[in-house]
């Protein structure tokens, strides 16, 4: 492997990492914090992508269009939470069926409203060239966006009153309520944040993907589910580790063989991981931390 | 009464040294931690065949932890448990049950959709043939004064009846050691007396050993042969109820006075 090829693998890793992390965060926040598996997660991403693309077509500059995408998805998430999801708290399996129904409706409504595809927004920034190779700068920067998103989540959940209350609610809902936390509103806000993150993913990938179609969201689904399982219940710890681990496996096998082998290797690794660590990476980190604390 | 599997109960109690002993249960240095917090610390505890032992102590003393370690719901961090002369420390719960350990949980957890008869069938079908279900069911229900409620579901039973049905279900397995977690919590005075009477009768008839966790000292007084006091995860003292009641140290741990 010469220097250029090493760069190739690095960029491929960054791209896989960004894709897995961004595909997962929204789902992971909603699952990790609320215990709801949102099978319509892909369609939340779809909403973000469509809102971004359509407003870019209206002449908005791309950053503003992306903001529209995030805001639209957030509002959309809040409306769904208030009307449907709210009634399904504590009913994990029912919430899966209901969100699957929502997903069916959204895909087809998108098709009815906007047709089989909408025109794409082109990718900004051009490419980095090295030797005979080149790599899209925007795609490399997506890794930066993924890290920034994780950092933002970290700050949100550790530095703000909201974040502290959210974490307190998960650790001990009863005590949190007795501390004056309105847990119902907590759930709504958490769902809104999960939706905003899905919207962000849609907004970021709208220009990095070919023209959005109603099936746009389904591309993200498999990676998102795999990463949630591998990451385990703690979003802040699990998602980056899962993204890093799966991204490395995918990039290495893809580089060594083909993209297909990379994908299969990633899925197989995920299944083995679950067998070895039923609570995912965050469970592992938790037990390491515990034993470290004990040895003190 | 025929045991399900004759091989498990034929061994006479032998302790870990290989000597014959009347001890049915023996724990050695039982230690359990939860994420750095010690729940029980070096518990050495033995129960004789047919004995009725009560486990008392203030909140958080580790009583339920000890019970869960014996049933296998929890795995000890260190130490071992011998039952009937065999090391059962790493056996799964269901195999301990096969060896004769039975348990009644604190909160009644009957199967909601099943009638009393059908609830009883769940333990019964493990040890008797289908042909005997009805006779055994009726015997047990009669013994626990529940025959009239044979076709009732738990929701229609009184709290006391539910507690009795639970004990009946645990007894259906014909255990040699029975663990009861607060059998009279929430019962009226009359119901408490009934349960006490019931336990005495079972003991007399079947020779079952009991470990009972209980807060109600009056109840303990009426049933216990010996009492073990736990505090801060360790055995504080052991003795007859009279000895324990008059022990000033026991009063102190309950009242929180400095020693």
């Amino acid at each position: 492997m010469n220097g250029y090829e090493l760069l190739n693998v690095t960029f491929q890793f960054l791209e896989s990492f960004a894709f897995i992390v961004l595909a997962t965060v929204g789902l992971a926040v909603i699952f990790g914090m609320m215990g709801i598996i949102n099978l319509a997660h892909g369609e939340f991403i779809l909403v973000g992508a469509y809102a971004t693309t359509l407003s870019a077509h209206q002449g908005l500059p791309l950053p503003a269009a992306m903001l529209v995408g995030v805001v639209a998805t957030t509002i959309f998430g809040i409306v769904l939470e208030r009307t449907i999801i709210r009634r399904l708290y504590g009913r994990l399996l029912d919430s899966m069926v209901a969100t699957f129904g929502i997903s069916l409706v959204l895909v087809q409504l998108t098709r009815i409203l906007f047709g089989n595809s909408i025109d794409q927004v082109s990718t900004p920034f051009g490419a980095i060239s090295y030797g005979s190779y080149s790599y899209s700068l925007y795609r490399v920067l997506l890794a930066g966006a993924a890290i920034a998103t994780l950092l933002g989540l970290y700050l949100l959940f550790t530095r703000t009153a909201f974040g502290i209350r959210a974490r307190a609610t998960i650790q001990d809902e009863e005590t949190a309520r007795s501390m004056g936390v309105d847990t119902d509103r907590m759930y709504m806000s958490t769902f809104a944040i999960g939706s905003a993150l899905a919207g962000l993913t849609g907004a970021l990938y709208a220009p990095a993907r070919a023209s959005p179609t109603p099936e746009f969201g389904s591309e993200f689904l498999v990676d998102a589910f795999v990463a949630v399982v591998v990451g385990g219940p703690s979003v802040l710890v699990g998602t980056p580790l899962a993204g890093g681990f799966l991204g490395l496996i995918e990039a290495f096998f893809t580089f060594q063989w083909t993209q297909f082998i990379g994908t299969v290797a990633m899925l197989v690794a995920a299944i083995v991981m679950i067998r070895l660590l039923p609570d995912g990476f965050s469970g592992l980190v938790e037990s390491v931390r515990t034993s470290w604390r004990e040895s003190e | 009464m025929a045991a399900s599997d004759p091989t498990v109960k034929t061994t006479r109690a032998v302790d870990e040294t290989g000597e014959r002993s009347s001890r049915i249960l023996q724990t050695r240095d039982l230690h359990k931690e939860f994420g750095g917090l010690t729940a029980t610390d070096t518990v050495d505890f033995a129960v004789e065949e047919g004995e009725l032992r009560c486990l008392i102590g203030p909140n958080g003393a580790g009583k339920s932890t000890v019970l869960n370690l014996i049933t296998g719901q929890l795995e000890p961090t260190a130490g071992s448990i011998y039952y009937d002369g065999i090391d059962i420390t790493s056996l799964p719960s269901h195999e301990r049950v096969d060896r004769g350990i039975s348990m009644k949980f604190q909160v009644p957890t009957l199967y909601e959709d099943l009638t009393a008869r059908q609830n009883l069938r769940i333990p019964l079908q493990r040890i008797v043939d289908a042909a005997e279900f009805e006779t055994r069911t009726r015997e047990l229900l009669a013994q626990f004064d529940l025959l009239a409620e044979i076709d009732e579901t738990p929701a229609t039973l009184s709290h006391g009846q539910q507690q009795r049905l639970e004990i009946a279900m645990a007894m259906a397995l014909e255990p040699t050691l029975m663990l009861l977690d607060e059998p009279v919590a929430g019962l009226s005075v009359e119901e408490t007396a009934e349960v006490a009477e019931l336990l005495r009768t079972i003991r007399a008839q079947e020779g079952v050993a009991f470990i009972v966790i209980e807060h109600d000292i009056d109840f303990v007084e009426t049933i216990a042969d010996r009492v073990t006091v736990l505090d801060q995860g360790s055995i504080f003292t052991e003795g007859t109820i009279e000895e324990v009641k008059t022990d000033p140290a026991v009063r102190r741990i309950y009242l929180g006075e400095e020693t």
């Binding site: 502290i164 004056g180 | 203030p58 958080g60 929701a155 009242l255 929180g256």
Partner: protein
Amino acid sequence: MLDLTDVHVSYGTTPILHDIDITVDPGEIIGIMGKNGVGKTTLIKAVMGLLEVDAGTITFDGDDVTSTGAAVRARRGMGYIPQGRDVFPELTVEENLRMGETIHAADDRLQYEAVYDFFPILEERQSQTAGTLSGGQQQLLAIGRALIGNPKLLVLDEPSEGVQPSIVQDITRDLQRVNEELETTIIFVEQNLHVVQHLAERCYAIDKGTIVDELGSDRLESREAVTEYLAV
């Protein structure tokens, strides 16, 4: 300040409490004592709104709060200090204290300095996760957390549980100081003789799910009177 009238509570289908009548006047420190398993924690949870009552009424600061949830009661000025180690173990000491801000969001909110002044150990351990504190320190944290919101009423569930006897005495003194300096009303349940005798101004005795006696300061001084409801 707080009135419970003819309150009945059950846990699932199991009745736990019946015919409970309790009155707490502003500025008082009221104890509720009883042995293990007589329903003390159930009672305190019903006061806080964490358990629904089957019958009866609860009024707080002049308002009927019988059917209000815990979060609302907390914001109206009830500061809850749960049993044992019920701090948020994964949050740091400081984050735990910040949780207290949601209680009784009045303008005259206590400053962190004041809480740190009461409990200097909390300032030392600011950035440590709460789960790594000792039992006594966790208890102080739980009290400090409640005080941050400047509550009108402190509701304590067995402050002595899992705490070493020498620390129990410190906690008792701290709570008395809180009552005097901040004029906070206090209600607590307890089975620790020391706490009952030294903290309570007046005390209810609870047994088999109901109030069986009420002891004024004179009877509280008598060890025999108190141990009757506590001892083994």
